[in-house]
């Protein structure tokens, strides 16, 4: 096992002419859960999309087990074992629930996750396996999005705003599934607006502010005041 699974080193990234990240550095170790917090527009989603290859990078700023993956396409990075649960869930609307999960396993990577395990984790999905993903509630859609990412048996799973737009009770039940997910030796990056939730599930936290890392450290040792300052820059 390498010491560092993912390392992001001085990453500049953005869309078209708009630069959203300025020299962002981050590390994820095997088996670790990292939280990335920050206000809207701080660059959290850009960071996730850069790592997963949806935004092209050129320099050697993103490394996977020491290998430069900045120039790889998203599908190649997926085969390496990096999965993203995208913000807004973004399920395939013309695929059924089960087909969404099956296509998640398309990389053919070996591991503990398969359809049966996903249905054990989220039993409601088995009941609704044949319906269109658009007819599910928001919480159920989020379960499909998480299941779809798990089906690729990733080594690193990045979850972007999985609680966004969901009722608190649903958020609670989705986070309740998290220990069962990372318990399999999976590393995770959790992007959250809900700071308390983010600190609770993670061992280390990075706070982004206007495209730069404004704070980083152990999740338990960070005070509310430090976070407020890092979050809002006041």
């Amino acid at each position: 096992m390498p010491d560092v699974l993912l390392s992001v080193d001085g990453l500049d990234a953005g869309y078209d002419d708009f630069q959203a990240l300025f020299g962002v550095s981050m590390e994820v170790h095997p088996g670790e859960v990292i939280a990335v917090i920050g206000a809207n527009g701080a660059g959290k989603t850009t960071l996730m999309r850069s790592v997963s290859g949806l935004i092209k990078n050129t320099g050697p700023q993103i490394r996977w087990k020491g290998q430069d993956i900045g120039a790889l396409r998203a599908d190649q990075i997926a085969h390496l074992g990096v999965a993203l649960v995208p913000e807004g869930r973004l399920l395939f609307q013309s695929l059924s629930v089960e087909e969404n999960l099956i296509i998640g396993g398309r990389t053919g990577r070996k591991g503990p996750w398969n359809l049966r395990r996903i249905y054990e984790l989220f039993p409601i999905l088995e009941e609704r396996r044949n319906v269109s993903s658009t007819s599910l509630s928001g919480g159920q859609q989020q379960m499909v999005a998480i299941g779809r990412a798990l089906m690729s048996n990733p080594e690193l799973m990045m979850m972007d705003e999985i609680s966004l737009g969901l009722a608190p009770v649903i958020i609670k039940s989705i986070y309740a599934a998290l220990p069962g997910i990372v318990g399999e030796g999976l590393s995770a990056v959790v992007v959250e607006q809900d700071i308390a939730k983010a600190l609770q599930v993670s061992s280390r936290v990075y706070c982004l502010q206007e495209g730069r890392v404004s704070l980083q450290g152990a999740s338990q040792g960070i005070s509310r005041d430090e976070i407020s300052r890092a979050y809002f820059g006041v």
Binding site: L54, D75, L90, S94, R106
Partner: protein
């Protein structure tokens, strides 16, 4: 009886139009690409069949067994080498490039085969007919129609029951997220174009058996194909078959009134349908 005959002949003609349209529909459905060169690719397939049939001394329908993989390979290469470079958020670049491709294809065919009309010789099959009650129905149109139904059923099955179909639908839904599933978009698009041109090969060979062809006739085939797709509703393959049949029947009934009215009648019915139902008769429900 004349009218029933016109409807039957029109329905069978619609099978050919559905074959013209199926590839167009597939490509648009998977990658939102409007392929202006589609009609010329149909004509190209007819010429490829002519060459293979003459060189190897094969019946055109036997030669089709070679024309299909040739066209499929061409489609894959065309997509990966040229068309994928134009794909993106904007619909205009691929439109312009396929328009240019259409011009290049027509002129290359003109140089290679001259402007003389050609025909695929299918022997007795061209004149055989079957008596169904009081009607005499051509064997070839029946084969064409049955093939169209089979092709569309096969495409439909492929779309909804195979891993390739899942990949097509997922890529069509959300290209970027499909890549996160490990699907190489360029490859998926290449496969879609390969499949579309394999269907185009069938359409081109039947066209070449049914009528004479020259390098310039692609454009009107493209129009018939477009009309069938639009009448049926974008993205609905069975709708495309229905659209082809409606177009075929409109033309044969139009010809009953006056022979010169045939093509115009098809266009008028098309215009009437999109005036009433701009999304076609059976649009895919999204």
């Amino acid at each position: 009886m004349d009218w029933i005959n016109a409807i039957v002949q029109g329905t069978l003609l619609g099978g050919l139009y559905a074959l013209f349209a199926a590839g167009l529909s597939l490509i648009f459905g998977v990658m939102r690409l409007v392929n202006i060169a589609h009609g010329d690719l149909i004509v190209l397939a007819a010429y490829v069949c002519l060459t293979v049939a003459v060189m190897l001394g094969l019946h055109p329908l036997v030669a089709l067994g070679l024309v299909m993989p040739i066209m499929a390979a061409l489609g894959y290469v065309l997509q990966r080498v040229i068309l994928n470079r134009t794909m993106g958020g904007d619909i205009l670049p691929p439109l312009l490039v396929t328009f240019g491709l259409s011009v290049i294809l027509q002129n290359s065919l003109l140089m290679a085969y001259s402007a003389d009309p050609q025909k695929l010789q299918a022997g007795a099959l061209e004149t055989m007919s079957i008596e169904i009650g009081p009607l005499a129905v051509g064997t070839l149109p029946l084969i064409v129609f049955a093939t169209a139904v089979l092709v569309i059923a096969a495409l439909q099955w492929m779309f909804y029951h195979t891993a390739l179909g899942r990949a097509f639908r997922a890529t069509s839904d959300r290209q970027d997220i499909a890549q996160l599933m490990g699907l190489n978009r360029s490859h998926v698009f290449g496969l879609a174009m390969a499949l579309a041109l394999a269907v185009t090969a069938i359409a081109g060979v039947f066209l070449g058996i049914k009528t004479s062809f020259d390098p310039s006739i692609g454009g009107s085939r493209l129009i018939f194909g477009f009309e069938a797709v639009i009448i049926g509703g974008l993205g609905n393959l069975w709708g495309t078959l229905a659209g082809g049949v409606i177009l075929g029947i409109s033309q044969t009934i139009g010809a009953k009134f006056h022979p010169g009215f045939q093509i115009l009648a098809g266009h008028l019915v098309f215009l009437a349908i999109i005036a009433v139902r701009p999304r076609g008769l059976f649009p895919r429900v999204d």
